[in-house]
């Protein structure tokens, strides 16, 4: 990243704004988009999500909860305690719970059934904020990091897995709220932007693959490592919907729809985003 080039480009952008003709606006905008791309590329050098991963690994391996047991007996679908490649096959149906679960739901399940937490305690702090660390976010960072490079392979074998996918597919286009927004309002066309932010077309394989394999992510603008549950919650906030309940059936169904659509792509997160 050449700082002088970047400054020069920014000056070009500013000059174009002042001139204000349509052609130069297009030029300025292209330049601004390029600058954002350079910014994103520069971010890849160091990802603070590493800190969440390290804390999550510690949490995973340490005795926790009233029963003082670690996650060594927690089965994420690949056998007790196995984290390698587990996230790339989630969500999936778990016979012991009788339902389809995503990673966060399964972590809560293990905290309750094995570590002795109450359900309320296990899910009380799903998203971090100022002065408030979330153990779930750290655990998600660690577990997902162990699928880096692994190809997404989310099965639709069990009837409940098929059902979750079908429901997620419908929920994706469900219009509601004062603005009539659905997920599809922003994520069903290729090459569209909101302001200068590129929007993935999540109804295409390529779009779903690119988006899903780069969550969770450290959000520079928020200074937090954000999970996919957070991503869905915040999309619905902007859709003017109410508050999506953490690990709710709708959140799992939508995750199933998007994760399955991402099959075949190498998982590459925790990522870093603006």
């Amino acid at each position: 990243m050449n700082i002088m080039t970047r400054r020069a480009s920014v000056r070009v952008a500013i000059a174009a704004v002042v001139v204000g003709a349509a052609a130069t606006v297009a030029l300025a905008q292209t330049s601004a988009v390029e600058e954002i791309e350079k910014y994103r590329a520069a971010l890849q050098d160091g990802n603070p999500a590493d800190l969440w991963e390290a804390r999550g690994e510690d949490l995973w391996k340490s005795p926790r909860g009233p029963k003082k047991v670690s996650f060594a007996t927690c089965d994420l679908g690949q056998g007790p305690g196995v984290v390698k490649g587990a996230y790339a096959q989630l969500p999936k149906y778990f016979a012991d719970a009788g339902r389809v679960m995503d990673l966060e739901t399964r972590l809560v399940y293990c905290m309750v059934t094995q570590q002795g937490y109450t359900d309320a305690d296990a899910r009380k702090n799903p998203f971090g904020g100022p002065g408030q660390k979330s153990d779930i976010e750290a655990l998600v960072a660690y577990v997902t990091s162990q699928s880096r490079g692994v190809k997404m392979n989310v099965a639709l074998d069990h009837p409940k897995e098929k059902e979750a996918f079908a429901l997620g597919e419908k929920m994706f286009v469900f219009r509601g709220g004062p603005h009539d927004f659905s997920c599809a309002t922003c994520h069903a066309e290729t090459g569209k932007r909101i302001r200068l932010q590129d929007l993935p077309n999540l109804m295409t394989v390529a779009g779903a693959q690119k988006a899903y394999t780069t969550w969770p992510a450290y959000r520079v603008s928020q200074g937090e490592m954000r999970t996919f549950q957070w991503r869905l919650n915040d999309c619905f906030r902007q859709q003017r919907f109410p508050d999506l309940i953490f690990t709710s059936d709708a959140s799992i169904a939508l995750t199933m729809y998007l994760a399955h659509n991402a099959n075949g792509a190498a998982f590459n997160a925790p990522a870093i985003k603006r």
């Binding site: 204000g20 929920m171 004062p178 932007r193 109410p242 059936d249 959140s251």
Partner: protein, 208 residues
């Protein structure tokens, strides 16, 4: 004998039920189930109540046809329904202040559970549209509105169209991606007039 017939009838009914379970649920059944699961998956928060998941006729039809071509008669029905709901300004004045309109077009807050219910509430037009050329940070979900009035002519007909379109986009294009700003009480009549001025005032930067 009669008992036997009843037994047979019962067996046939059970068999039919089993077959019914084995076949995939219909599209309508999945849609109903999805709506019900959604309703159970949210908590009311701030100004966003659970009633936001109750679809009106337009939302329900647009959801139903989201992944398939919208039949012409359904599209016409939706447009008619929404056109009838437009509240035209009583004094017949279409244009407000384009400077206020620009602020409303820039403002992205409003109606989110994280927003102050007392405001501000904007149209967030730049999220999806190009408007004034000075603003390079615009989205592309909607068409460019640069030179909206200049290209179409500064006529009452176009002023009225612009007002109606902002009030209720579905009146002109069924299942539009654009919110129905007046119909859904997102923006006030005066705010919509200000946006019409941003689009239609010859002095507005949009028309420069």
């Amino acid at each position: 004998m009669r008992k036997n017939i009843l037994l047979w009838a019962g067996a046939v009914a059970v068999a039919a039920a089993v077959v019914g379970c084995a076949t995939a649920p219909t599209d309508v059944e999945v849609s109903r189930r999805a709506a019900a699961v959604l309703k159970d998956s949210f908590n009311a928060k701030g100004q966003a109540g659970l009633d936001r998941l109750d679809q009106d006729e337009t939302q329900r039809l647009c959801t139903q046809y989201a992944n398939k071509p919208l039949p012409k008669d359904v599209a016409e029905m939706i447009e008619k329904l929404n056109l009838a709901s437009i509240k035209w300004p009583a004094d017949g004045k279409w244009l407000g202040d384009w400077k206020n309109g620009e602020k409303i077009a820039q403002e992205g807050r409003g109606k989110q559970f994280s927003d102050d219910p007392k405001g501000p509430v904007g149209g967030n037009c730049y999220a999806c549209h190009q408007l004034a050329p000075q603003e390079v940070s615009f989205g592309t979900i909607g068409p460019s509105l640069y030179q909206f009035g200049k290209l179409r002519g500064y006529t009452d007909e176009i002023r009225k169209y612009a007002y109606g379109k902002v009030w209720n986009a579905d009146a002109y294009s069924a299942c539009s991606n654009m919110p129905r700003f007046g119909h859904s009480q997102i923006l006030s009549e005066q705010q919509i007039r200000d946006l019409v001025a941003l689009l239609m005032d010859p002095e507005s930067p949009v028309n420069k």
